[in-house]
Symmetry: none
Subunit: 415 residues, 2 copies
């Protein structure tokens, strides 16, 4: 029983978008223990799509399609699949109803072209799309030896439909022979190479395997166990996780779905403390990270985006002499920003960021990538951390890295 | 004369890495005007790779392989291709010499396993790799009706070899019949289906083609022209772009690399005006978007993240009675937030967002997805916009959509 991924979309062939859906599905199939040997990308062209279906349906038993479910004329996936297997398309009133409802919720009226999204092959089940208008299908066009799943190309919709519908379906229909379970530990403040050396023997293990990853300054260790059941896989993973956490200490900030913001949030909630932020070069990115967490209003009261220097002095009360003498990107200004916002918003903690994100604005003494993080503690003390992200990283990287480093500084204080 | 992309690597099937090579090659082929209809990903498995070669060599005349050129036993691309076409492998002394040299430069000795990288099919040319040890090949295994190019999976090496060797080769061998040039128009405030209906006749065009796609509330129209030269392609695109812009009016906010933030930034700069923001449910996301643009400090002074209601009243001067009677998510509070931040930061414009991003906090009268955007204009007038994103979108979508809608409101005022 082998799966195959077929991504439909001329924009993929033209390279207008990166095929992240194939990566997502590949990871998911691996975790479910469903082997897949081929991935195909084909444009919005019925004849070529049919050729792909012909090839894939001979060598694989589970065909997973993404893309081409939209309302526009070039969205042809479902009708082409139906046509290939010689099945008529049936309009499903429940889909019409669902689409109409979604448009109403958004204060819009369903356009005629959306009607085509309600057409699915005879005998196919609806693969419900909770977020978007395009539903997918679950269809066995020729009995039990071939199953077809279709998903929209929009990643967020694919993820939700895969998680809520596809995974349960595949598990209940005997697709998952044994499973591969993974647990990802997350680290901040340690280089991938350094961590890899610290845990070198683990990287040689066969089951579970331990593999390091790094992106945007965050380092991850993925522990993957192959076993008959989730319980048995967990029994393989847990002791390894425990040992890795011991070795890494505070550099390991969490696992799996944890983010620096969610971990900091949990710690603040536990200590019944409140936080405010003062942001210069991140321009709101730190607050944005913190408020990604539902319920963050329990501990995060808000902040000041002090992008211009006038805001630093007038709103946050940064000392003008310090600002002019030390410069906006300095330890003293970072500390005064943190204390200023803590005082203004009456919070227990105040966290600040000021730095040079580039591409312009760097000097010999203060290069692009130099960032100061300020922290004002509940007892009124202030401190700062100097980060040098280097000039090659790029503006987005430096801004994201700055916000993460700020969260990490607070995390270590709260831990 | 059609090309096809074949990416070899089990790590791609497992989703350990994103297939950015396919995107790069897709863009490159489009720019060179070489049509390609299929992309295939296959693991490091000779039998399956042979099946892929068999299929691809029947339907395409230029096969571009990436991956599987390394020194390790699982790198099998070249020998599998040679095997499929029944050609022996020849060890090329110049490759051995090149690899040895590269190791010496790095103060290392060539390992035995690297020897296999010097083996290429009889009659194949070497596709020189300046940076890495793995060379590619240019090979016509059965005369002029099939050309094979192989590249390493390492993106940097692929890019250099493609630029320095492949492009000149393809141009000199008559592969580049004209070029394909694309231009993408970007829209906000109109549904994909609605726009598609407005421009329906254009979607039927053959050259240039016009294709719509949508992501996170943003709709795009891609105009792609095939022509002998960039100039001629531009001549096909320009009139269509003009007509589409006329039909769409202000719903079209820009093209190509434009973002709502960059367009708003340019308009503010043009009018020498300054902006500040007051954010509740977006928690800094609007400021973060604005400051993604280098040089945004020319017009964006900063803002207040008024996540807690106390901050709305104490820092932004929102009227407590209005807040308690109308609620934090209301038109009046949005307006007072906008006016408050404009006054506090002494800017020409003040832009605010207050809404319910969910998943919690929704009521019958104020459901999740209800967002009010406030705008204070240079002459001191205030207005607000009500958005209903629906309850199914999810927190991140609603927050991103809110920030984009706020930028769009300001954009329409500045336009």
């Amino acid at each position: 029983m082998v799966a195959e991924i077929i991504c439909v979309g001329t924009e993929l062939l033209l390279g207008d978008i990166l095929n992240s859906n194939a990566q997502f599905l590949g990871q998911q199939l691996a975790q479910l223990g469903i082997p897949h040997y081929y991935q195909t990308v084909v444009g919005d062209n019925p004849e070529r799509l049919k050729k792909v279906i012909e090839i894939a349906s001979k060598r694989s038993q589970l065909l997973i399609f993404t893309g081409g479910l939209g309302p526009t004329p070039d969205d042809l996936t479902v009708e082409t699949i139906a046509d290939f297997f010689g099945s008529p398309l049936i309009e499903k009133p429940e889909i019409i109803e669902d689409i109409t409802q979604k448009f109403t919720q958004r204060g819009r009226v369903m356009s005629a072209s959306n009607r085509k999204q309600a057409l699915i092959p005879e005998g196919a089940e609806i693969l419900t799309n909770l977020t978007g208008t395009a539903p997918g299908i679950i269809w066995k066009p020729r009995g039990d030896n071939l199953t077809i799943l279709t998903f929209p190309g929009v990643p967020a919709e694919l993820y939700q439909m895969w998680r809520d519908v596809a995974i349960p379906y595949l598990k209940n229909n005997g697709w998952c022979q044994g499973i591969i379970q993974s647990r990802t530990l997350k680290f901040w403040g340690i280089a991938e190479s350094t961590l890899a050396e610290k845990v070198a023997p683990f990287l040689e293990m066969k089951n579970p395997t331990v593999a390091p990853y790094a992106n945007h300054g965050e380092v991850k260790l993925r522990i993957s166990a192959r076993a008959e059941s989730q319980e048995l896989a967990q029994q393989l993973i847990t002791p390894v996780e425990t040992q890795l956490r011991e070795i890494a200490g505070l550099d390991c900030y969490g696992a799996h779905e944890d983010t620096l913001a969610s971990v900091v949030g949990a710690l603040l909630q536990k200590s019944r403390a409140t936080l405010s932020v003062a942001e210069s070069c991140t321009g709101g990115g730190l607050g944005q990270m913190l408020t990604q967490i539902p319920g963050s209003s329990d501990y995060f009261l808000g902040g000041v985006i002090a992008y211009g220097n006038a805001v630093k002095t007038s709103v946050l009360g940064v000392n003008l002499d310090d600002l002019t003498q030390q410069g906006a990107v300095s330890s003293i200004v970072a500390q005064q920003m943190a204390l200023g916002v803590k005082t203004l918003l009456k919070t227990n903690w105040g966290l600040s960021i000021t730095g040079i994100a580039g591409p312009g604005g760097g000097t010999a003494t203060k290069p692009v990538g130099l960032v100061y993080i300020g922290l004002a503690t509940p007892n009124g003390q202030v401190e700062s951390l100097e980060c040098r992200f280097g000039q090659t990283r790029g503006r987005d990287w430096i801004r994201r890295g700055s916000a993460s480093s700020a969260l990490d500084l607070l995390r270590r204080h709260l831990s």
